[in-house]
């Protein structure tokens, strides 16, 4: 039991790290809260479902397709709303309301397009039979999703720490005005980061039918809370801290489900409140308390 909870927790932790990663990247670079994050995840899930339905496209292929598609989607979306938002008096607060509006639009369009019912993809698409690891057996769809999440996180690490664009992105994260004064095209760098953030959400969404059971147009709200729990535990504004947050979240979720299953739904909320009150800065120090 213990070994199973630990191992499944790690696999889910990697996945939840990916779920929160895009949200944290957007927050880190632009200091705005993308409350529509969960809805982009939902779009990824429905994209995978739709492509699988019409042409039996393997979800792993869909995950690769999601990257360019959602970066391309993020670009116009960024220029449409973010520069105007950042000029407002309190962009952080207003962004919550703005992106809530956007999430409503996406949810409505998805309901109009796909109908409100639950969708799922059979798990055997990602390999058949359970996989044995350290004497525990896990469904292979979980393993594939966990490995894919790990690879996506690695990709983000390479993007941020091994490319010139990532160097500029980190400069914008540290200080937006100073980056602008240095001559960095802040809007272009931010727009790319925004697109990557959406694409990460969509990739996480592609695997959502396997990890979370099914997908509905209204799944976004719950996923937002889980993403917030993950990134707050890690640390707001530090994308790679998210992975740690994801693993803490995944392992504690599995322990709750194993030992106190009926109260497991409470976990993300309590974890979120607790961390915000006790150690609001996560790993990376940023002042969030005022008085």
């Amino acid at each position: 039991m213990l070994g199973y909870a630990l191992l499944a927790g790690l696999v889910f932790g990697l996945y939840f790290g990916l779920v929160g990663l895009g949200l944290n990247l957007v927050f880190g670079v632009m200091r705005i809260v993308n409350l529509a994050h969960g809805d982009f995840l939902m779009l990824g899930a429905f994209g995978a479902f739709w492509l699988f339905g019409i042409a039996h496209v393997n979800p792993i292929v869909t995950a690769f397709l999601a990257l360019p598609v959602f970066i391309a989607l993020g670009f116009p979306l960024y220029y449409l709303v973010v520069p105007r938002l950042l000029r407002a008096k309190d962009p952080e607060m207003l962004s919550i309301i703005l992106f809530f509006g956007m999430s409503q639009v996406i949810e409505a369009l998805a309901t109009i397009g796909f109908g409100p019912s639950e969708r799922s993809i059979p798990g055997r698409v990602l390999g058949s039979g359970p996989v044995s690891l350290f004497g525990q057996s896990l469904p292979s769809a979980w393993m594939v999703s966990g490995v894919a999440s790990g690879l996506a996180v690695l990709g983000v690490y390479l993007y941020l720490y091994r490319t010139r664009l990532g160097y500029l992105t980190r400069a914008v994260m540290v200080h937006r005005e100073e980056a602008l004064a240095t001559g960095i095209d802040v809007h272009k760098v931010s727009a790319i980061a925004f697109g990557v953030g959406l694409a990460l959400a969509a990739i996480a969404g592609v695997f959502a039918p396997f990890m979370l059971g099914s997908a509905t147009p209204a799944m976004g709200v719950d996923l937002n809370i889980q993403s917030f729990a993950v990134i707050v535990v890690g640390s707001l504004g530090n994308p790679l801290g998210t992975v740690l947050g994801g693993i803490v979240y995944g392992v504690s979720l599995m322990f709750m489900q194993t030992y106190f299953s009926s109260w497991a739904n409470l976990l993300p909320y309590l974890l979120l409140i607790l961390i915000l009150l006790v150690r609001p800065s996560g790993l990376l120090g940023r002042q969030v308390r005022l008085a």
Binding site: R84, S95, V105, L266, I273, V288
Partner: protein
């Protein structure tokens, strides 16, 4: 004529009279009741968000606490409805007290933590393990105390009191102190405002408002499920209505409810997804082009909006 009295005569009196008299000429009392509920909730959001600057994304937690405080004291203690309403209000205030540490967080952090808190309360109330006490996910039935006329009247009274509270905040030193905290808590403290006391008081007042109207909601509908009274729609609608009209005014939230909830009832019931689409686009446009609400259109022309 003092400003507060003028505001009361211009806004509170007509709205209250309309709410009290319309049931005699219009038969859909449930619709009118929902308007009264949202007029109250939007003003409650106005107190803590409009005046004090904390965005209560989990405001529905107080509404649900009020509804369950009322229902459980009727079911288990066989209280009279009006006394049970007091228990509902008390439940909301206790939840508010429990959540006061959240006020230390600023901006988005407060909003997210508050949302998580409301969802946590919902998870506890609807947990099947607590069916003995809260009826769990199976819902509440209060047919024994069903009194639509009386409960409607009480709801109108609560709404009038809440509007009165908004008039008071709009025209008093306390309201001014709250707005100073919203603009800059440290400067407000320097100017002699007791920041912690003022914001806690505003928080508990808005919790009280939501708890009272939540209790009356339970009384009026008398059959409901936990996801009815903890629906995040209550928080979101109340916030958007208040924001649309313009916060930190008395008129703004009233206008927001009348216009947006009016549209909702015209098209939202039959085709919810199209309403959701329009509503989402409206919110986005609002934040981008009119972040201070409809009231700012008049203010820009130098008109004093009550």
């Amino acid at each position: 004529m003092p400003r507060a009295l003028r505001h009361a005569l211009l806004v509170v009196l007509p709205v209250t009279l309309a709410a009290a008299l319309l049931p005699f000429v219009y038969s859909n009392q449930l619709l009118l009741f929902n308007f009264v509920v949202f007029l109250t909730l939007a003003q409650g959001v106005n107190v803590i968000y409009g005046f004090t600057g904390y965005l209560p994304f989990g405001y529905v937690g107080f509404f649900g606490a009020g509804a369950y405080g009322f229902s459980l004291s009727v079911i288990h203690l066989h209280m009279a409805p009006l006394a049970a309403l007091g228990v509902g209000a008390l439940a909301a205030i206790l939840l508010g007290l429990l959540l006061t540490p959240l006020l230390r967080l600023s901006g988005a952090y407060f909003a997210i933590a508050n949302l998580a808190a409301a969802l946590a309360v919902y998870q506890v109330v609807s947990n099947p393990n607590l069916t003995e006490i809260t009826k769990g996910p199976y819902g509440i039935s209060l047919s024994g105390v069903y009194q639509p006329q009386l409960s409607y009247g009480v709801a109108v009274a609560i709404m009038a009191a809440t509007l009165g509270l908004a008039v008071y905040l709009r025209n008093s030193r306390f309201g001014l102190a709250l707005q100073a905290i919203r603009e800059d808590a440290i400067s407000a403290a320097m100017a002699g405002v007791n920041v912690v006391r003022a914001r806690t008081l505003a928080w508990l007042l808005s919790a009280l408002v939501a708890g009272l109207i939540g209790g009356v909601f339970a009384w009026y509908v008398s059959v409901f499920y936990p996801d009815t009274v903890f629906s995040p729609d209550f928080s979101i609608f109340a916030i958007v209505f208040a924001l649309f009209g313009g916060v930190a005014t008395v008129t703004g939230p009233v206008l927001g409810v009348l216009i947006l909830y009016g549209i909702y009832n015209a098209i939202g019931i039959s085709t919810p997804q199209y309403f959701q689409l329009i509503y989402g686009l409206l919110i986005m446009g609002l934040v981008l082009f009119l972040p201070n609400g409809l009231a700012s259109l008049f203010r820009r022309r130098g008109i004093d909006v009550p």
